[in-house]
Symmetry: C2
Subunit: 380 residues, 2 copies
């Protein structure tokens, strides 16, 4: 028997109950039943994003929702600052380029997050900037940006703040209204523990003003159509019905459990994994580590490709490698969604057995016991 | 007990085996396993579209794929003819307008399909037209356009032909290469008997030339990125993994059964339903009826809203009403996907019982027996 365990930072493991919920017979979307689902999901998404804002659901990947938010908020006459500190941040620069949006790219070293001062300096240097776009938790580097601090800067200066929260929302604190985020984006396949195929964007009143003021070349991703339909708990295009069914199940559970409790557990898993890395002599890659994903530097003498192949092929653990310039240099472990302390103990154990197989020197069990110590304390 | 039966022209009923296939544990998409799924699905999609062309899969509704094809094929310097004969055709006019695509709208009466002569006349009147966009089977009116005939016109004149085959592909003959279609679009929730959330577009070499020649404002729906990834059986953005799993199951079954056999069965269901309508004194709405959906005119004295409410609330049959200018005037029955002669007998029976409840005069059983006669002959 080989059990498969998914530790990739999206898609993440889907609870059995959710798989079965999504396997229920198809419902049509132009019905009173579906309107009721839209209404309930909307209220629960507001809780998830910690907001009173309108929350749009799109059938598509997170990229679709990010494009919808970025393009909608940047009609001609506006200028964006795009913070580029990883593979996904890079994609938002590409969206600006593809749609001819006036923008400045602010490169930040991979592994670092952005701070309020990065944004205030860039805005001082170019007063035309009235929109800031960045990634909350950069999946490719496992680095955390300070959205609360950046939100203070953008609010003070009347700029819009667009945040890719794809590996953040539902895993780590994301407080849209308190922090002054104007468009917060997430996807179904991360902390929401669903298959990929749904994307979400919560949009502030200030952002709606901007979106409604402009006319950008888009139809499927045009948020205006979604807002108009939502006023009647309706959808403009055929929605991904089965995923929405799973979404309701998941969001009800998140509300019942409470976001604070989920954030605390995710943080504990990150602490335990970081403690294990340290005990094994592996460096945590990012300077500003996030709690939703841990990235470790592959030590000298260890082959990353062979390591991941053994982890998956021999032990059944699917972890992620590096992307772009980090290919072959790091390995990444998710702490999002349907994963607990004992799953995490298991993946650390498999990592140890794999490293040992490659001749890496360490004391077998050191990582596991370091994580255990953190979890024993956290679960008291 | 009340069994629910979905007769809406999308979403359609999903086979139990497909629901369970999609309920299998999540797979990551950057793996050898997923590449193999992409490769296999691509070959099967080529069979579905009857083409050697590249077939792109997008996570989204059919609108996303149609937008991708229309916008990609219409960079500046080109001009489109958009045939507008229903609610979905209207949407493609809106796509052209949203992206500033030079276009002429050719209105055709709702319920009629377009013919080659409609297109040749319009192209004679405006030699700038080098792209023709239309709907093969207009879901809102259940009307069929003559793609083979139109393809002869567009090929003769070197124009690109973009066809929305959302309620056509996999249900009625759709022969991309033989007919000279350059972009053929479909969605998962119709003849493919899957939940909504996947969209497809098969793209000819001529269309790729046009797409690669231009630079339109799009990222998520930019087909160039999908083509580049497909060259390595990869995907540019996170795909809807569970739906793709179901897709493989369905496409294998379609190939095994054979498209000709599916087209014949769909046509038989349409004939039987039309015969039932006639026996009940109900007029089939479209002048050019398609085999994938049957639309009937609601007779004088019958309340369409109450009829559909009884069909669903009392008997468990979800059928569709009219859209736009046909709201309240027609009812529609799907013949696509996981539906057979006996399901169709059942829905006709429920229709009769509902009509009788509203005091409509007819001989109870007349519709059912008319359909039975067609099916008995067709299933010999």
């Amino acid at each position: 028997m080989k059990k498969i365990r998914l530790f990739t930072p999206g898609p993440t493991m889907v609870p059995e109950e959710v798989l079965l919920e999504m396997a229920r017979p198809m419902e049509h979307h132009r019905t009173a039943i579906y309107k009721e689902w839209v209404r309930e999901a909307h209220g629960l998404l507001q809780y998830l994003f910690q907001t009173k804002a309108t929350c749009v659901t799109i059938a598509g990947s997170g990229t679709a929702a990010a494009e919808a938010a970025i393009v909608g908020c940047c009609p001609p006459g506006h200028k964006a600052l795009v913070i580029d500190n990883g593979k996904f941040a890079e994609r938002w620069v590409k969206v600006c380029a593809a749609f001819g949006i006036a923008h400045t790219r602010l490169p930040i070293e991979w592994g670092r997050g952005a701070k309020g001062t990065d944004v205030s300096k860039a805005m001082d240097a170019d007063p035309k900037i009235d929109t800031v776009i960045l990634v909350h938790s950069e999946t490719s580097t496992a680095a955390l940006s300070d959205i609360a601090g950046i939100g203070r800067v953008t609010r003070d200066r009347g700029a819009l703040l667009i945040v890719d929260g794809i590996t953040a929302v539902g895993a780590i604190p994301c407080k849209m209204d308190e922090w002054g985020v104007d468009a917060y984006i997430t996807g179904s396949q991360k902390a929401l523990m669903l298959p990929p195929g749904l994307a979400f964007v919560a949009v502030s009143d200030r952002a709606w003003e901007r979106i409604e003021s402009g006319k950008m070349p888009m139809l499927y991703n045009d948020l205006k159509a979604y807002r108009k339909s939502l006023a009647e708990w309706d959808v403009p295009y055929t929605p991904a019905v089965s995923l929405v069914r799973g979404l309701l199940w998941v969001l009800r559970g998140i509300k019942e459990r409470g976001l604070e409790s989920i954030w605390a557990e995710t943080a504990m898993l990150a602490r335990g994994t970081q403690a294990a890395a340290e005990a094994l002599g592996l460096k945590v890659f990012p300077a500003d580590p996030v709690d939703s994903v841990t990235a470790m530097v592959v030590p000298q003498g260890v082959d990353e490709g062979a390591l991941r192949k053994t982890m998956r092929g021999k032990y059944g653990f699917q972890i992620a490698g590096g992307q772009g310039e980090l290919k072959g240099k790091i390995i990444r472990f998710s702490h999002m969604g349907y994963v607990d302390a004992f799953d995490t103990i298991a993946v650390i154990s498999a990592l140890e057995m794999t490293l040992r197989g490659q001749g890496y020197k360490f004391s077998l069990g050191a990582g596991v016991s370091a994580a255990q110590a953190v979890f024993a304390e956290g679960m008291k």
